[in-house]
Symmetry: C3
Subunit: 125 residues, 3 copies
């Protein structure tokens, strides 16, 4: 088991690692946008911030968004689905991991989006 | 990594694959019932539709409900738990994967149930 | 695939196994506190009860909290985050798995916390 820490994503505010690698898979913690959301970030800025954090943590684990196999997206308000999907598609490009979008009540600090990932560590050759 | 696509389940309405196989595991996206829910499907019809989609996607990956190891069930309204559990038990038969039932606010299109799965790909011999 | 059953955790109230082992990973079902919550347990008692169940199920699978790689925590009310984090940290000690805290509406029986885990089975030597 290997613990992943990137200084390009917010330091954990609680008892967790940004990601853990085990058995060839990288489990990324639920990532939130940066800051305390005061003043509130736009939805678009929140999505980009979350995906920036995901990318940074994955990079530290030796992989990237193109290695993601499962993505679980917690959205505060299912009405954000279309905007979310478009921004997410732009960032993932041609790569389409399995995904579940899960509506939730308000997230921590009033954020609107949180993403939890499982990626496959590319084999070392 | 292998991307799974079944024409027996709705084509992805967003940026995801129906399932992705990696490292011997099959990650199935959050499946919803078919259609736009107009007029609204009964809860029973929704559960059967979701499990039909799950089965179809798993079949395309070379496995079935009997290979599921983890099931995460998002229910809009925890009061549906008993009805859900009964229908789910009928479909899974003697196979009892690990499961979490997660209450959520309204799902996309007002659906009442979404299921996300991880299955183990049977070894090829 | 191996099904895990511990008599130190509540018998499944629905169609699931307490945990399933596959491919070196142990998938633990969403664990709730014990009892029917009448009278309601304190939040602290609920967290300890859930983690007791998690520990018992993991032990039956030959591992423990120190082998957890991914933890998904469903909290009814994000205002419980600070209290949850402190109790969780006390129980996990120096081990910090990847974690997502997911706010949800009311859980079954009015419980306030549910935890779903993935652990890595220590290799047998």
């Amino acid at each position: 088991m290997k613990f992943i820490s990137s200084n390009q994503a917010p330091a954990p505010g609680g008892h967790y690692s940004q990601a853990v690698e085990a058995g060839g898979l990288v489990f990324v913690s639920g990532m939130l946008p940066a800051g305390n959301n005061q003043p509130p970030l736009t939805f678009q800025a929140q999505v980009h911030s979350v995906l920036d954090h995901c990318s940074a943590v994955l990079a530290e684990a030796g992989c990237g968004l193109q290695d993601v196999v499962q993505s679980t997206v917690y959205l505060a308000g299912v009405e954000h689905w279309p905007a979310f999907n478009q921004l997410y598609a732009e960032r993932f490009g041609s790569h389409r991991p399995a995904r579940a979008v899960v509506p939730v009540p308000a997230l921590h600090h009033g954020f609107l989006v949180e993403i939890q990932l499982v990626a496959e560590r590319p084999s070392q050759s």
